[in-house]
């Protein structure tokens, strides 16, 4: 692995940083754009990749992608296939109008976009209720609407991710960068205790809270984490708050895995859970 490369908008991505896999077409992630550069020869135009955001260049050789990891505190912009936690704002005949990030246009969620939903069985969601959904489309052109779904259109199922209404529990806000890491950490099938993306906090919490019946978590790329500990009985509230505080502190203070474990121990003791 070469040294980390940080680019600013307008900088070109040097060709030696691109994945060398030539069998697949190169895919561009966020923060990059392709510009054609007129060359001295009249017929041949060369192409350059330039950054549009400041960030760390990352490549994935397997999937042949290159993208820019920008500042983790940025605002979330809906991208197809992302998992988000959306809040119902109001409903109309065909759609629920949902809030994905505050002070932006509402995203649409079909009234029937739920597992096994028919006109009679569809969930009656009210204002302020939450759903775990996937971004289905972001539309083409200016001012296009974002559409969400709680069902995999191919299978008609709610997917293993557990899409659908989120009942009870609590939502905590984290940075969008942290949310992306949490999604990878919570969805990975690695053994407990492993550090994924520099995160040990989830597996540590899982270990420590196992005796209380564990917890359920849903992470939205829009920087929201839903936590539910309803199995924990009387300690449910405290356990939920402890999880939220651990995640937010890890995010705010950029803790490394060792400090994350210390944090978990400290907060659980403070909340009288351990």
């Amino acid at each position: 692995m070469s040294a980390p490369l940080i680019l600013l908008p307008g900088d070109e991505v040097p060709s030696d940083h691109l994945p060398s896999n030539n069998s697949n077409p190169l895919k561009l992630g966020p923060g990059l754009r392709l510009l054609s550069q007129p060359s001295s020869k009249p017929d041949a135009t060369s192409h350059v990749l330039t950054a549009t955001q400041a960030g760390l260049v990352t490549t994935d050789a397997k999937r042949n992608t290159v993208s820019i990891l920008s500042f983790p505190n940025r605002r979330y912009i809906p991208t197809v296939n992302d998992l988000v936690i959306a809040q119902i704002h109001h409903s109309s005949i065909d759609y629920f109008h949902c809030m994905v990030t505050p002070h932006t246009a509402h995203a649409l969620l079909g009234q029937l976009s739920f597992e096994g939903a028919t006109k009679k069985t569809r969930p009656m969601l009210k204002q302020g209720e939450l759903v775990y959904a996937r971004v289905l489309s972001v539309g083409v052109g200016a001012g296009a609407e974002v559409e969400l779904t709680c069902v995999n259109p191919a299978t008609g199922k709610s997917e293993p991710g557990g899409l659908g209404p989120l009942v009870g529990g609590m939502v905590f806000e984290v940075s969008t960068g942290m949310a992306a890491r949490l999604i990878r950490a919570s969805s990975s099938s690695a053994e407990q205790g492993d550090v994924i993306d520099g995160l040990a906090v989830l597996s540590e919490l899982g270990k420590k809270l196992e005796s209380l019946g564990g917890f359920e978590i849903a992470v939205g790329r829009n920087g929201k984490v839903w936590v539910d500990c309803s199995n924990a009985g009387d300690s449910a509230i405290k356990a939920t708050i402890a999880i939220g505080r651990c995640l937010q502190t890890t995010d705010d203070k950029r803790l490394n895995p060792v400090d994350q474990k210390k944090l978990v121990t400290r907060i659980l003791r403070e909340m009288k859970l351990a």
Binding site: H89, P102, K126, G128, E129, G169, V171, I237, I241, M271
Partner: protein, 324 residues
Amino acid sequence: MRPATAKWPKMVQKKTFDRPRRDSSPRCAIRKMSKEAPLSVAEREFILEALRENVRLDGRGADQFRSLNLSFGDEYGHVKLQLGKTSIVVRISSEVTKPRDDRPFDGLFNINLELSAMGSPAWENGRSNELEAYVTHVLDSVIRRSNALDTESLCILKGVSCWSIRADVHILDYDGNLTDAACIAIMTGLQHFRRPDAVVRDGQVIVYGVEERVPVALNITHKPLSITFNAFNEGHNIIVDATRKEEQSSEGELVIGINNGGDVCFLSKFSGAPVDAMEVVTRSNVALEKVKEINAQVERVMQADLAKRAKKGMAEESRAENDR
């Protein structure tokens, strides 16, 4: 007694003391005021449920403030306040102007607060909102109208010239309890500020530069602060220093402006559900305790800063002498 009248009190009671409904209830005047995105049902219910168990989201007790951090800028009267994630900068400035015709012996003092999109994306630049008017009103009452800054001492020459003191409040980050935070910051700024010295000689006003004469501290008559209480669960839980999410799920608030001596200079039950009258009395005691605590901290931090400045000033003076 006729059944109709017998029913009356019951109905009234039911209407007023009903549990907060799930949909956007009009009780939350604070929430409506700040135009923040509405809280989800899950969040509101959870906050209320946790408070029933006397637990807050950040692990604080009901009568506990978030950690308060005060620091000073290069100039006198430049205060940076951090209360949890709420962050404020206050700048105090002075200039010589003409006093008002009806009050020739009084100087001027104004508090300026403008909410910008920096503090919260919910606030639009260049447009005032209700929260701005409300907070300005409370600050004005607690600090200016209680005469915390003795405006008579700002008079230089009767009817001709006086000092005009201006406090500019910049909200950098908004996470609840704007009023108390701004109040602490302004009071700290006023105590820290030094205005240039001015004298009247032969009917002429002479203002000395900061280098010529040691600048003068303002005359602070007392140190009132506002303490805001938020009520939840039909008044069963009352907390201080609410965060933004707590404010959004609160059913009403009570603001007490009080000084170290226990004199109440402002009392407001501006919005939301009714609060038991006895609560106002007991909360005043809590407010007094908090004000004493905070004022002591302000004093400590300020003295440390002033001592540091004095040391630096002395070092510079001796350097200047050495140069000579």
